[in-house]
Symmetry: C2
Subunit: 388 residues, 2 copies
């Protein structure tokens, strides 16, 4: 299918992906592929399609949720339990480099498409499975959602206010994380195929990915054996490195060493803090972080964020705005970097969505195709497969 | 260098990476490369090395922070401002497939290693730059830290308790996110090189990556024009889908549709909730989520988490443990999936760290090399370059 009339530009141009995924972790993975120029053919359940087509909010009756992660993909509806449709699916696999699915483990086997079967018939095919807990292990068949793996994987136990109730990361990092690692695994298998000529099975679990994102918290626990707890907005081992309240809102001050702290005291005109024993070294500042925050905020609340951010930037003290979503969308940097893309509903209504952050040479992801209606590309695909 | 005596197994076997990165976003990217079998040569500043070598906690005087993200890498110390060391660096580039750096934009140019220079001398080299704001745009030269991009990129505005103070995601998702996208961009450029024979420049900005992770929040804002705010631990549009307090702790209940909610009421023996008008549909349950949470917790607090989780699992209602870090490390699933690896300090002390979640065929990442001492591999590397 690499000579088809839908050849796309981009670093993954020429790669064809057959995409059985639904809702978020899998579709986010295949969005990354589509944005980088792979041809992604969504194979959806007839009449219903990707479950996320039913998730609000809606725009002209179309799911904005679906629209936000399915640009640059084609759609064909196939019933993988019906013989005629299985034939079409298998013709697609003949032309494919990658198959991605995020069913519960065991489902592909039941459909007759286990790794063993697929690898024998399509030896060059890379087969990527994203699941809650992985294809192996005692929890393999348990159902998972973002909420479940955020709670089980520990990230929730690190997020929130001290002593406060459990706090979910405000985006579905359980799904998105798995989508990112699945993309990395798929590309690694494609690079390996360049050497070996053979496809491989890629098995990525949402829970594993949460553990891989725990960062230095494991090391901290291993060394001091204290179970890490949520600490609000501050950094665990650098002070002041936090979000502070100014007159009209919140802002970041990240004075990561003694020199920056001294300079901060100077420009805020707080000579007493500079000589205060409690704040004389980073370990002491960490110990008295709450007292220091009170002192700094007393001063910061005298002026607006913009005043302070300009002053800190002039003095090379790392700082930044605490933006809400409306403010993020107005950021000149984000626009310059083409991080906002417009997709359109079938009725022509515009929806702004997040773009792809990967710039490769002069390539930046664009919207080549709007999010597809269910089965929208059947006719073209069937013609290419000579099944029309 | 592909025939060297340090050839590694793994899907990226044969790929050589020269790694100028420091602290977190860049080293996390090259950790992914090293774990998948690429040869990663850390080029560090003489005497000081990667700044993260100075970040605590420490184990036998070695930074556990450094140890947690630098396994499977080699180290050579080079002063990129000294002529003799520049020669060695350039010999390394002759053998390399990838160069990764995360200096502030402009630094590589000052060192004489702009993309234009590198591409002319090493046309096959993929050159990956990770920075706070990107190589272009009005904020390009501003310094950034995880804290700054979490606040500027909007994820912080979505995380936390309703009406509460700003809450940082409890891991450095600003750095880790950028590391993941930089890995994806690098592999995409390597796949493109298979077709074109030429390397490309990969430019990934931490702030852009935060926007790419905002998920459906942009779509929600675009449709209803209400700025999304933190909502604690619950899902924004499904109820009950949250963390609840049982007798001895917190647990997840994710009853995502009417059928599951009815079943939940049955097994909790709460017939009144089932017929309560306020809870009869998902939109109504979302509207009255706080009242429903009070009712459910009243019942859940009668028994321990384990009791309820077992009962919900038997009845196919998605549920899960709310684990702290110690509990995560004891999870049988995590062990079965080889998500915990042991690395050792020079003195032989063990540190458990997060593994790599990507399983490819029978390949799972292991520790082939402990985190290197500064300049540890100089002799071997010089010998291979015939510079000894």
């Amino acid at each position: 299918m690499s000579n088809s009339n839908v050849a796309k530009l981009g670093p993954l141009s020429g790669i064809t992906v057959v995409d059985l995924t639904r809702v978020l972790a899998g579709p986010y993975c295949t969005l990354l592929m589509a944005d980088l120029g792979a041809r992604v053919i969504k194979v959806e359940q007839p009449n219903i399609g990707d479950d996320s087509r039913q998730i609000g909010p809606f725009i002209d009756g179309e799911s904005a949720y679906f629209m936000s992660i399915n640009r640059n993909k084609e759609s064909i509806a196939l019933d993988l339990k019906a013989e005629a449709d299985k034939k079409i699916f298998e013709s697609l696999l003949e032309t494919a480099d990658v198959l991605v699915e995020n069913f519960r483990p065991g489902t592909m086997e039941k459909l007759g498409y286990s790794w063993e079967v697929l690898h024998q018939r399509y030896p060059k095919l890379v087969f990527t499975s994203v699941s809650g807990f992985g294809q192996t292990g005692p929890y393999s068949k348990r159902p998972a959602y973002d909420m479940v793996v955020q709670a089980m994987g520990g990230i929730m136990s690190l997020t929130g206010q001290p002593g406060g109730p459990p706090t979910r990361v405000g985006v579905s990092i359980g799904d998105l994380g798995a989508g990112l690692y699945a993309m990395i695994g798929t590309q690694a298998a494609l690079l390996q195929r360049e050497r070996t000529g053979m496809g491989e099975q890629v098995d990525v679990a949402m829970l594993d990915c949460q553990v891989a994102l725990l960062e230095n918290s494991i090391a901290r626990y291993e060394v001091d054996k204290r179970i890490p707890e949520p600490i609000g907005s501050r950094h665990p081992s650098i002070t002041p490195f936090d979000v502070f309240k100014a007159k009209d809102g919140w802002m970041v001050v990240a004075a990561g060493n003694d020199m920056l702290f001294q300079r901060l005291c100077n420009i805020l005109n707080l000579p007493n803090l500079k000589t205060d024993e409690r704040f004389s070294t980073n370990p002491l500042r960490c110990e008295h972080h709450d007292q220091l925050k009170v002192e700094l905020e007393k001063r910061l609340q005298e002026e607006a964020c913009k005043h302070w951010i300009d002053l800190l930037m002039e003095n090379n003290i790392p700082t930044g705005e605490y933006n809400n979503l409306a403010q993020v969308l107005e950021s000149p940097q984000i626009h310059e970097r083409e991080m906002l893309l417009d997709v359109f509903s079938a009725n022509g209504s515009k929806l702004t969505v997040a773009g792809n952050p990967i710039h490769i040479g002069s390539f930046v992801s664009k919207v080549d195709r709007n999010p597809p209606a269910l089965d929208q590309d059947r006719h073209e695909i069937m013609k290419e497969l000579n099944l029309d």
